[in-house]
């Protein structure tokens, strides 16, 4: 039996516990973090290879399906696990030396959060998904206030809002369980599509509540406006890892509703709402980007746009749409994470002024950083030739086929244009307008590592661009898995009781 699928959850969790036990021993903590990153990458890569041919399912505690908790990995989950391993590994590079020294248990919390993220991508069980959400959320509350003397206002907003979201999640799970009698995600999804009349009302209400919660996590309008200001107070390295949190919401939406979006099942209406909400999100996000006062806020606003782009594509329905959404998700995570890391680099170079979009004090150590910023701006704005463009073409292509294609394409391109204006304005303020004499000062504390991490993340996007062909083909298969219902055995109660333990 291969335990590979459990490791992306178990390993970071154990690493987190070990890091807690290590306490203040910085050197040892670095080693453990590094080891965890490397192991995480290896495990994720192996998992990716393992799901290449067919999805894998793993029954925790050796209880038969659908009673026990299932871990399930298809291409989408595996891709996202690899993505989170990569983002976490790169983003912790600068965090190890810098953030870890500014408060306790930082590295441990990062590992715990990673466990929650990976768990969410692999959860084959609705309640377990809730648990994994809790793990990543509770870590995120703690990470958000890390380095702050007292919790900033946005952190309080974030915490209260998400606690409420968790409550709704729980209510949603209860309603769905009440209607379907099962908690297995695939089982639930299949049953929700075909509910008998007497349970349909509250079952669907539960499903919709879950959709709301996922929309909240993925920062979709009208529930997503917390994101820019929240990420603007997070340490930028933390914000880079937080990029994965929105993707958990996107993934959950894909997993639960993806198979039905182009069908006549009652859940298809979620897709229509999703399309409208995402379109609004894209526009408002782009406008907020124009209004942003710091680089992190800009990046956060653009996250709204990128998530909305992926979800607009998803809402078009069907396998190709799911593939487009997944590819865009991969791209946008790397892109936004690199933008946050650049913000971190700028903040560390400028000291007190941080990453505020002001001309002075000028950003020292220019040259490479300026080039990197504009490269990332191109990436984030979806300009050719980088992966943003390829992702956008994929999204546009599926949107153009929908009945409201013209409007959706128009929204997406308008948002792109506004995003471009915003990133260029920001670069103008930070880099171009500052006086010339500030050219070659030594890098500030940790700025070099942070810049390096940003460059690395950017480099990964370039790889995503160069190998877009094979990656997109791989993702196309992932799209067929997520865009159509999973084949399930349906068991009667009596048969279930006779099921042997695996």
């Amino acid at each position: 039996m291969s335990h590979l699928i459990a490791l992306p959850f178990v390993l970071p969790l154990l690493a987190g516990a070990v890091l807690v036990a290590l306490g203040e021993r910085a050197r040892a903590s670095r080693w453990v973090t590094g080891l965890a990153s490397i192991l995480g990458l290896v495990v994720a890569a192996l998992l990716l290879r393992q799901v290449h041919d067919s999805p894998i399912s793993y029954q925790l505690g050796s209880w038969p399906w659908p009673v026990g908790i299932e871990l399930y990995a298809d291409r989408t989950s595996a891709a996202l696990v690899l993505l989170s391993a990569v983002v976490a590994a790169v983003a912790t590079l600068p965090a190890v030396g810098y953030d870890a020294g500014r408060g306790r248990h930082f590295l441990a919390l990062l590992q715990f959060q990673l466990a929650g993220i990976n768990g969410s991508f692999l959860a084959g069980d609705l309640f377990n998904l809730f648990v994994c959400f809790e793990i990543l959320l509770i870590s995120s509350y703690a990470l958000l206030v890390h380095g702050h003397e007292r919790p900033p206002r946005a952190a309080i907003v974030y915490t209260v809002l998400n606690l409420t979201g968790s409550t709704l999640f729980l209510i949603g799970v209860a309603l769905v369980y009440g209607a379907t009698g099962t908690l297995n995600l695939a089982d639930v999804t299949a049953r929700l599509a075909d509910l008998p009349a007497d349970t349909r009302g509250f079952g669907l209400a539960g499903a919709w509540l879950l959709a709301l919660v996922f929309a909240l996590k993925s920062a979709l309008l009208p529930l997503g406006l917390w994101l820019p200001s929240t990420y603007a107070v997070a340490s930028p390295t933390v914000a880079a890892i937080f990029m994965l949190l929105t993707k958990v919401g996107v993934y959950a939406l894909m997993r639960l509703y993806g198979p039905w979006l182009d069908s006549s099942a009652p859940l298809a209406s979620v897709g229509q709402a999703l399309g409208v909400a995402a379109a609004a999100s894209a526009l408002v996000g782009a406008l907020l980007a124009l209004a942003s006062r710091s680089l992190r806020q800009l990046a956060g606003s653009l996250v709204l746009v990128s998530v909305a782009t992926a979800l607009m594509a998803l809402s078009a329905g069907g396998e190709r749409a799911a593939a487009a959404a997944l590819f865009y998700t991969l791209h946008s995570t790397l892109a936004a994470a690199s933008l946050f890391l650049v913000a971190a680099c700028v903040a560390r170079l400028r000291g007190k002024a941080g990453d505020d979009l002001t001309t002075s004090p000028p950003v020292t150590w220019r040259g490479g950083l300026v080039l990197l910023y504009f490269g990332i701006a191109v990436l984030v704005a979806g300009l050719p030739p980088l992966s943003g463009f390829i992702g956008k073409v994929g999204a546009l292509e599926v949107l153009a086929r929908t009945p409201n294609g013209a409007a959706l394409v128009g929204v997406l391109l308008t948002a792109s244009l506004l995003g471009l204006i915003a990133t260029v304005r920001a670069g103008n303020a930070l880099f171009l307008r500052s006086p010339a004499e500030a050219s070659r000062a030594p890098a500030g504390s940790g700025a070099r590592t942070t810049g390096g991490a940003a460059a690395l993340m950017f480099g990964l996007s370039v790889l995503l661009t160069v190998f877009a062909g094979p990656i997109r083909e791989w993702v196309d298969v992932a799209g067929t898995q997520i865009g159509s219902p999973r084949q399930l055995r349906s068991l009667s109660q009596a048969e279930l009781l006779e099921e042997p333990r695996p």
């Binding site: 505690g61 206030v145 907003v157 809002l161 050719p384 073409v393």
Partner: protein, 924 residues
């Protein structure tokens, strides 16, 4: 190496100048080498492409799934463009080498320049339309970098942003258009698209596609009303202006018209849109050029007008119009590049480009002046120069074209008028710069430039004359091949020649020449007052107005949303939840018949108590202590309900959770400040109230509906298999530690993380203020009682823990029990809040608990079973009898440790916190 290398040569070459500078290799050398090599490659294809009119193709897949391939084609049209890009590129590199200061001529200049060259070559060679968009946007980006080269100048930055925004807009429109073409045709490959031209033109989306593509072309080629960015792009160094903003990049737009000609042109819509836009641009550009005082500004508006002319030609429906357009595309590039370079030389040697300050330059710099005069004459359309040829053809085509708006005179008259203006500004350029009295007050004394700065101009002017004299010999084949590729069909026989006899176009030329000179001579009287009004570019003002309005309204939007308020977000979330529930639950409610609602008196009473206490919590929310007491009543009622409904485990858990929660809350109360005053207006309060009722109602209805339907669920499995497979009689506990042990494992981790978070957060807060000594001491009596209580609690905990698998109890409950005892002791002994242990050591216990809980799970994996699979051992022990040992016991022990450690970690931390006031500020 074949033609497919052309774009990559330049694009990868763009990466070289930076690194090579370290080796002290002149970046200009790299750029020059790339351009030369490229020209060589191109010329090698002349026999096939130009002479035989073949189309060379090659394709490498990139993203096949999206239909995006690196497909390149070299036909006559592409050859013409590539020739311009490489030829003029080479001259510009040479020019820039002597124009820029040595410290400026770095990779920062040549890098983007080469990138631009590569992107432009890519546009010219793209067979795949998506690939064309890729290169298209790349030219915008590299153009941005080049315009903002002198980044410390406001004009440069502004011009760069404006150019990027406007062409970016066009690029996005083009992308949309191309995507739709792909959807209609099923391929982005040019060959396929051309094949399906009829389908495309007949498609209902054709007008939209056409508009989008034209938007792309018009913004790039600075057509009215998007022309305004081009003059502002002149803030770029002059080599850039000469290269990008006159000879090549702006030609990308008209090149696109040529590329799309076979599959988009030929309709009424195309004719009107393109012709009218071209005509307007032609007139407006040449009119505005007349009033520019900046040499480069004049040339920029002149470029705008010439681009309009080419666009106009592509709009016409005559057979030869594309040929005329392409000839003019070539001619304009040649004479305008030389004029820009000449303007750069003047700037370089006099320190100004202001026509009002320049005068009489012929004497100090006769060679440059002669060159510029010849080029300007070509621009004005004087015979024997290349500009004359294409202008003649232009006149011919306007005469042959269809009537526009039913009037046959509009096109020829407009064309003549534009030519009049064009002659007038050419004359002005020459007259004011080179003749008249010697200029005074210049920064530098004018003199001839260094030899090599002039060579590119000399070559270009030579070309002007050569083409003008022997057009058919020099460019006849090339233009024919290009035009054939453009229309994708046979062209009527036509020879480009200097002399076509005395005909109407010649008359028009003569009229233009004489009229132009007259207009220049009488300009002051003709346009009195106009100049002042044209001083500020309307386009720029509009553009900046729009951007400022956008930014302003975004900021207002951000403020209006009140994103820093918790209530904003909560209201949104809850309102959505209520709406969704109302939409789905209310219809369902109508369908359910109220059968099972009688209930039990005890439950009704408990329910009533809970509701009453809840009201107390809400009403007394300003007095935390009272509210806590009320909330404990709610908890108690819930506990009793569980007990009454025969759920001892739940009741026990609820009771203990209540206890611990209240103890912790009480410890926290002293740190609360005053609750914030309610500042909501009454309508808002009413709305909030309605929202609260809505949420409560939705949950109630949901529960009720759920409870009044019976659904077969997995729970039966748990009940039946608990004993045989789970080895435990307490189903709840078996679910917690075995069936769904993974969830418990996760939740235990959540608990541990929460305490770690609290420890980390309060670390900061606690450090700021030492604990106060003012709190009362606990009586001795309490201290001794608590000791007893602790022992009792610990004993109970052990008992509850051990029996957990078969009877109410388990790790969680036992942990809470022990914690309650410990909390009492702690409160009794440490009224001052001094920590008994350092919280750091508690975090070790938390870690230990999590690891302990994971231990049996990991062990199972080592034994080849799934994570968290339970293992059971039955040990027959002497005296004791058979003892059932299970790995879930270890798991449960982990849970126990985490729970105890959590409580013990939080409590001392609370004690170390500063009192009251700062938190009150936070609340506000």
């Amino acid at each position: 190496m074949n033609f497919t290398w052309l774009p990559w040569l330049a694009l990868f070459g763009a990466l070289l100048p930076g690194p090579l500078r370290r080796l002290r290799i002149d970046p200009a050398l790299v750029a020059g080498a790339v351009a030369t090599l490229g020209l060589g490659l191109l010329i090698r294809t002349t026999p096939e492409v130009v002479v035989l009119g073949q189309t060379l193709k090659s394709s490498v897949p990139w993203v096949p799934s999206l239909g995006l391939a690196i497909s390149l084609r070299l036909d006559g049209l592409g050859f013409l463009m590539c020739g311009l890009i490489l030829g003029i590129g080479l001259l510009v590199v040479l020019y820039a080498r002597y124009y820029l200061k040595p410290e400026e001529a770095t990779g920062r200049f040549y890098g983007p320049l080469l990138a631009f060259m590569g992107a432009m070559l890519g546009i010219a060679l793209s067979e795949n339309l998506l690939l064309l968009v890729v290169f298209w946007e790349l030219t915008s980006i590299s153009s941005f970098l080049l315009i903002s080269f002198w980044q410390f100048s406001t004009d440069a930055r502004r011009g760069a942003r404006m150019a990027l925004t406007v062409t970016g807009l066009g690029g996005l429109a083009l992308l949309a258009g191309v995507i739709w073409i792909g959807q209609i045709v099923g391929s982005y490959e040019l060959t396929q698209v051309i094949e399906h031209a009829d389908v495309l033109k007949a498609h209902p989306h054709y007008p939209a596609v056409l508009c989008l593509v034209l938007l792309g072309a018009f913004t790039k080629s600075a057509q009215f009303p998007f022309h305004f960015w081009l003059p502002h792009a002149m803030a770029a160094p002059t080599p850039v202006s000469a290269y990008l903003h006159s000879a090549t990049m702006v030609k990308a737009g008209v090149f696109l018209l040529a590329r799309c000609y076979p599959f988009l042109a030929g309709t009424e819509l195309w004719f009107y849109l393109v012709t009218i836009t071209g005509m307007l641009t032609l007139l407006i550009g040449s009119f505005l050029a007349l009033f520019q005082n900046d040499l480069k500004g004049l040339l920029a508006y002149s470029t705008v007008s010439h681009l309009g002319l080419i666009t106009l030609l592509f709009g016409l429906d005559t057979d030869l119009a594309p040929k005329a357009a392409l000839l003019h595309l070539l001619n304009h590039a040649v004479f305008k590049a030389s004029l820009f370079m000449a303007a750069g030389i003047i700037d370089h040697e006099t320190g100004t480009r202001d026509l009002r300050r320049l005068s009489g330059l012929f004497k100090p710099m006769p060679v440059t002046a002669t060159l510029a005069i010849v080029a300007a004459a070509s621009m004005a359309g004087i015979p024997l120069l290349n500009g004359f040829l294409s202008k003649e053809m232009f006149f011919t085509e306007t005469l042959d074209a269809d009537d526009i708006f039913g009037r046959s005179w509009i096109l020829p008259v407009g064309a003549t008028l534009a030519s009049v203006l064009s002659v007038a500004y050419s004359v002005r350029f020459v007259r004011q710069a080179f003749f008249g009295p010697p200029a005074t007050g210049l920064e530098k004394t004018p003199h001839e430039p260094p030899r090599w700065l002039r060579v590119p101009v000399e070559l270009l002017v030579l070309l002007c004359i050569a083409i003008g004299v022997a057009p058919a010999l020099l460019v006849g084949d090339l233009i024919h091949a290009a035009a054939s590729a453009c229309v994708q069909g046979e062209l009527p026989p036509y020879t480009i020649a200097l002399w076509h006899g005395f005909n109407t176009p010649l008359v028009m030329s003569i009229v233009a020449l004489i009229g132009g000179i007259l207009v220049y001579a009488r300009r002051e009287r003709l346009f009195r007052g106009v100049e002042a009004r044209l001083s500020v570019s309307q386009g720029r003002r509009a553009f900046e107005g729009i951007v400022a309005a956008l930014v302003g309204s975004s900021q207002r939007l951000e403020r209006a949303l009140r994103l820093d308020q918790v209530t904003t977000h909560l209201r949104g979330l809850l309102a959505c939840a209520v709406l969704v529930s109302a939409w789905l639950l209310l219809p369902a409610l109508a369908r359910v018949s109220p059968t099972n609602t009688s209930g039990d008196l005890v439950l009704w009473v408990l329910c009533g108590v809970a509701l009453f206490a809840l009201a107390g919590v809400l009403l007394k929310s300003e007095r935390p202590l009272t509210a806590i007491v009320y909330s404990s009543i709610v908890g108690l009622a819930v506990t009793l309900t569980f007990a009454y409904l025969s759920a001892p485990d739940l009741a026990l858990t609820q009771l203990l959770v209540e206890l611990v929660a209240i103890l912790l809350l009480l410890a926290a109360v002293p740190h609360f400040g005053l609750p914030p005053r309610d500042k909501r207006s009454s309508p808002v309060r009413a709305l909030d109230g309605a929202l609260a009722l809505g949420v409560g109602g939705a949950v109630t209805i949901g529960c009720w509906l759920m409870l009044s339907t019976d659904v077969a669920s997995i729970s039966r499995y748990f009940l039946e298999k608990s004993v045989p497979l789970g080895q435990g009689n307490n189903v709840v506990n078996v679910i917690l530690v075995d069936f769904r042990g993974f969830d418990t494992f996760g939740e235990v981790t959540v608990l541990a993380i929460a305490s770690l978070g609290i420890l980390a957060l309060f670390d900061h807060l606690a450090q700021r203020q030492a604990p106060s000594d003012l709190r009362p001491r606990t009586p001795l009596f309490l201290q001794s009682v608590t000791k007893l209580l602790l022992n009792l609690a610990l004993l109970t905990a052990v008992f509850l823990f051990l029996r957990g698998h078969n009877a109410p109890g388990g790790g969680f409950i036992a942990g809470l029990t022990a914690a309650v005892g410990l909390v009492f002791v702690y409160q009794a002994r440490n009224p001052t809040g001094a920590p008994a242990r350092r919280p750091a050591s508690m975090s070790r216990w938390l870690a230990a608990g999590v690891l302990l809980a994971a231990l049996p799970g990991v062990a199972a994996m080592l034994f080849g079973r799934a994570f968290l699979t339970a293992g059971h051992v039955h040990l027959p022990l002497p005296l004791v009898g058979e003892v059932h040992l299970s790995t879930v016991l270890v798991f449960d022990l982990g849970v126990f440790v985490v729970v105890v450690a959590t409580v013990l970690a939080i409590l001392p931390t609370l004690g170390r916190l500063p009192l009251g006031k700062p938190t009150a500020e936070e609340e506000r």
